[in-house]
């Protein structure tokens, strides 16, 4: 494990996520086993003790998110990982962290739902992640990688932006990405001089006034004001931080919108469509919050129709419609429960789109 840096290695997604977090300076992992992300925890349990970090297997996902909250409040980079039902348990903790302006990383390796669901990949937690990761008026940064390398790259970015904007960040992965093995280059970064968190509750040492990390504001006007201010920060994020990949969109008539593992399947279909002479393209959101609204609106000026493909009943499709203000038709295709769409199925839908446009 020591020689892993600055090499191209074959790694399982879950383990690559863990190593990337360590590379980003995270030394505190609090988690709980749940399929299909347990390898992340297991990797951390081996790696953290060797570098003087914390691996703590908490008594539940609830305890884990609160340990993350405590560590984050004390000013360190902390993270947890789980899968769909476990993320549901974390929603209260996430809300408190948003309300207390605390940065942290939460990884969701999505599985079939609802309920105990299944252990195969899905994207059925999109609503949870982007609309209501916790109660109250809030947002968290949500990154949607679609390869093991991208997962690695986004972990560092997630920690950095979480610190900059003082809010939790999520990597919204799925069981496919978590379990797949791909070559990945891990940057040989020395442990960064992470900026000190001037607001942390870590012991005042009589050198400053005491810090209070809190989300309770009983005076309604005070809470209103505070949340309004926080939303101004969110507005800045929506202007500066959306990320997406555009594949053959510039002259595309029929644009497929997909993220995560589904985007790779969609890309294969788009390539085949192009081979058949169809002007197909793929717009792949890399951040699902903030959503790449501008790029979609741009694409809607020239495209004829959109197809949204998800491993769910269609949770992102309305965001696409809203982003383009329903100016063009948006179809949806997906499977849920852990079923993975095939390139052939997606191609079929693209062909249907072209028929519809005639």
């Amino acid at each position: 494990m020591e020689k892993i840096m600055a090499q191209r290695v074959l790694m399982k997604g879950n383990e690559a996520l863990a190593e990337a977090a360590i590379q980003a300076g995270c030394r505190h992992f609090f988690g709980y086993p749940i399929t299909p992300q347990t390898e992340l925890a297991a990797y951390m349990s081996k790696r953290m003790p060797k570098i003087g970090g914390t691996y703590l297997q908490a008594e539940s996902e609830i305890a884990a998110i609160n340990m993350v909250q405590g560590a984050a409040a004390a000013g360190v980079r902390a993270m947890t990982s789980s899968s769909s039902p476990g993320i549901s348990l974390k929603t209260e903790g996430i809300s408190y962290m948003c309300g207390s302006d605390l940065p942290a990383l939460i990884i969701n390796v999505q599985r079939g739902g609802p309920g105990l669901g299944g252990i195969q990949p899905s994207q059925a937690d999109y609503w949870q992640a982007t609309k209501a990761p916790g109660h109250g008026d809030l947002h968290i940064l949500v990154f949607a990688p679609s390869s093991v390398q991208e997962m690695v790259d986004l972990v560092g970015k997630a920690f950095d932006l979480a610190d900059t904007y003082r809010m939790p960040a999520m990597i919204l992965a799925d069981g496919l990405l978590g379990q797949m093995m791909e070559p990945v280059v891990l940057e040989d970064k020395p442990l960064k001089d992470l900026p000190k968190k001037e607001w942390a509750a870590c012991g005042h040492n009589f050198e400053r006034k005491n810090h209070i990390i809190n989300s309770l504001y009983l005076k309604a006007w005070q809470l209103d004001e505070l949340v309004q201010k926080r939303f101004e920060r969110y507005k800045t994020i929506e202007e500066k931080e959306p990320m997406c990949e555009k594949f053959l969109c510039d002259d595309a008539d029929f644009i497929t919108v997909a993220y995560g593992a589904t985007a790779r399947i969609a890309k294969a279909a788009v390539k085949e469509a192009r081979a058949r002479g169809i002007k197909a393209g793929l717009l792949r959101p890399v951040t699902v919050w903030p959503f790449p609204k501008k790029e979609l609106a741009e694409a809607a000026r020239t495209a004829k129709a959109f197809l949204c493909v998800e491993m769910s009943m269609g949770q992102m499709v309305d965001d696409v419609r809203l982003a383009i203000e329903c100016k063009k038709p948006v179809r949806f295709f997906g499977h849920t429960g852990g079923v993975i769409p095939t390139p052939a199925e997606v191609l079929d839908e693209i062909l249907k789109m072209t028929e519809g446009a005639e």
């Binding site: 505190h28 609090f30 914390t54 703590l56 908490a58 008594e59 539940s60 609830i62 305890a63 884990a64 609160n66 340990m67 993350v68 909250q69 405590g70 560590a71 984050a72 409040a73 004390a74 000013g75 360190v76 902390a78 209260e92 903790g93 408190y96 207390s100 942390a200 509750a201 870590c202 012991g203 005042h204 040492n205 009589f206 050198e207 005491n210 810090h211 209070i212 990390i213 809190n214 989300s215 309770l216």
Partner: protein
């Protein structure tokens, strides 16, 4: 003239919102006195609960974190693992610690987390208006046991010190009360011992304070102390339930690789 008694430095000047005669005030002061006397206010991080003491963050001069209901020991764990040199304490009521937070309490104890838990047990849920607590006594009348707690449907109270004393990670557990000066001074000693246990890295420490809730017991503050003596102390006997410092430790064997 010399000042014989004044407010400790680790207590802020904010007027406390607690009801007249509520024992929270006394217990807060004892915690602050310990922080002062041990000289650890600068290293201290306190974790406030959900309950009447939710605004404890306004009353202590050290860094404070407000926790979700029941999760204070998990928050405290995160802080202590992040800043091992800190002195971390939670301040929790009976619902926080023994209802919603039972798992966090038990697991912080069994992990031997070097934190100090200040447990205020007044056998009722104060903040929400007097409902049954996991420590409410059999036949006790509360808002949600208007005919008295029926053990056949509402079960039996939990004795937290006894429960946690069975766990190897618990280094110090003592039950005290603050009904009279003698007991207040004994309680302070226990709290100081608990903090010292943390400072010495011996594991999890807890001091359970048998307390009153005059408002929701519908008694005057002094009557409430009487009710405490008559009804609570027989069910929750005072005393030390675990003390790792009392047994001499065998020398630690070095691990051979």
């Amino acid at each position: 003239m010399a000042v014989v008694f004044q407010k400790p430095k680790s207590l802020t000047n904010a007027p406390m919102h607690y009801c007249p005669g509520c024992t929270h005030g006394i217990i807060h002061r004892l915690v602050a006195e310990c922080l002062d006397e041990l000289g650890v206010e600068g290293k201290a991080v306190g974790v406030a609960p959900v309950g009447c003491a939710v605004m404890a963050y306004d009353y202590f001069s050290c860094d404070m974190i407000q926790s979700p209901h029941g999760r204070a020991p998990a928050i405290a764990t995160g802080v202590k693992r992040a800043v091992p040199g800190s002195v971390v304490f939670t301040y929790q009521g009976d619902g926080d610690l023994a209802a919603i937070g039972t798992a966090e309490t038990v697991h912080a104890a069994t992990r031997g987390e070097n934190i100090t838990v200040v447990f205020v047990n007044n056998a009722i849920y104060g903040m929400t208006g007097g409902q049954m607590a996991p420590t409410s006594l059999p036949n006790q009348i509360t808002q949600t046991t208007p005919y008295g707690r029926d053990v056949n449907t509402a079960g039996y109270p939990i004795r937290v010190c006894e429960l946690l004393s069975t766990l190897d990670g618990t280094a110090y557990a003592e039950r005290v009360t603050v009904d009279c000066v003698k007991n207040v001074l004994k309680a302070k000693k226990a709290l100081k011992k608990a903090f010292q246990t943390q400072i010495d890295g011996l594991g999890f420490s807890i001091v359970e304070f048998i307390s009153t809730c005059p408002t929701n017991w519908s008694l005057t503050p002094n009557e409430a102390l009487g009710w405490l003596r008559e009804n609570m102390l027989p069910y929750y006997p005072l005393g030390v339930y675990k003390d790792k410092t009392a047994v001499s430790q065998p020398p630690v064997k070095e691990e051979t690789k």
